[in-house]
Amino acid sequence: MKKTAVRNLRLCTKDCLCLYVCPTGATDTENSIIDTDKCTGCGDCAAACPSGAISMVVTHYPPQQQKNDDVKSILTSLAENRCRSERIARQLARKTDRPGEKKLLTAIAISSRLVAEDIMREAGFMLPQSRCTHELLEKILADPPQGFPAEAARKLLEMIEIND
């Protein structure tokens, strides 16, 4: 499967071995992002980097695991509750003027969102490339709520290939 190199800037310690070993100069860029047009996917940079900062990722992602309908349905109700928790915490955080309480409620709001995101990942929305993501965007575009950023949705439908 075709791969391409990506550099994690958080881990890169600028040891620069990747610059020496890359046969195409793809690793040497002004913004530190490896040039995917030049990269041939040989993997030499990833093998050479002493900081483990480069990973080789596939250019086409495999289909995600199929999800059972019962699992999807129960996880969706769980996510509904966690999103409600996020909302309530956020509203309470806005209202209070006690600094400690504000921080705690803000944390709980973000935390509830993280959990809801993870639940929906397991409910079938793991990959942007999956068909259900496309179908969801198309369904919304067919009858968008007022103010919906339709342009963004249309662009995404164009940019992201379907893998299943």
Partner: protein
């Protein structure tokens, strides 16, 4: 007798500690994750669980066509933004984030009756019924990914409920000279001067924690 923390699994062994669990002061908290005393269960009873209640098979009959609320759509799209970020697709991530932000503000009109009590009650509802039901379905369908989020999510929800209850009792004093830390991976919340070395729920290192400032939303 031993007692186990239902958030992080820390075991309190009365024999080793030389203090009976019941004699610990009410404000005592788990030395590992900060959960309050009430979050501990006796270790014995733990083995035999899930035998009572909630035996009904999947209560909702959604069959794929469930309508997602604005709040859940916000989570779906912010998660897809995260997915694009992980795949180093910055432009796509930004577009998904834009859609997520739209749904976040759309959902803000709901739940105008927000109160600390309703927040705690919701956590309680999920801990006592929604998570167990989801876990059961995940086990039946042998879906280990779903089982993982049931495990993490339930613990994260437990600590949130515990912190809310600790705040109700202790007020601002609870946060004096402490920061509020959030695990950016699983959502575990921790109050202390420094974040824990490892997240007690999902085990990521401390640099994955962020210091939460109030009012950034």
């Amino acid at each position: 007798m031993k007692y186990v923390c239902t958030v992080c699994g820390h075991v309190y062994d009365e024999e080793a500690e030389k203090v009976p669990f019941s004699s610990l002061p009410p404000q005592w908290t788990c030395p590992r994750c900060g959960a309050e005393k009430a979050m501990f269960d006796p270790l014995e009873e733990k083995k035999e669980r899930g035998n009572d209640g909630s035996t009904d098979e999947s209560p909702e009959q959604g069959q794929g066509e469930t309508k997602l609320s604005a709040g859940v759509l916000a989570a779906v799209f912010s998660n897809l933004a995260r997915g694009c970020e992980k795949q180093y697709k910055a432009e796509e991530a930004e577009l998904f984030a834009k859609i997520a932000a739209f749904y976040t503000s759309l959902s803000d009109d709901d739940d105008t009756d927000a109160s600390p009590e309703s927040l705690a009650a919701l956590a309680q509802e999920d801990i006592s019924s929604t998570y167990p039901a989801a876990r059961k379905t995940a086990e039946n369908k042998m879906d280990r990914g779903a089982l993982r989020i049931c495990t993490w999510g339930e613990k994260v929800t437990r600590i949130a409920r515990s912190l809310l209850s600790q705040y109700r009792k202790g007020g601002e004093e609870l946060l004096r000279e402490s920061e509020v830390w959030l695990c950016t991976v699983c959502g575990f919340v921790y109050i202390g001067r420094k974040p824990p070395e490892l997240c007690p729920v999902c085990k990521v290192p401390s640099w994955k924690f962020t210091n939460v400032e109030g009012g950034e939303m």
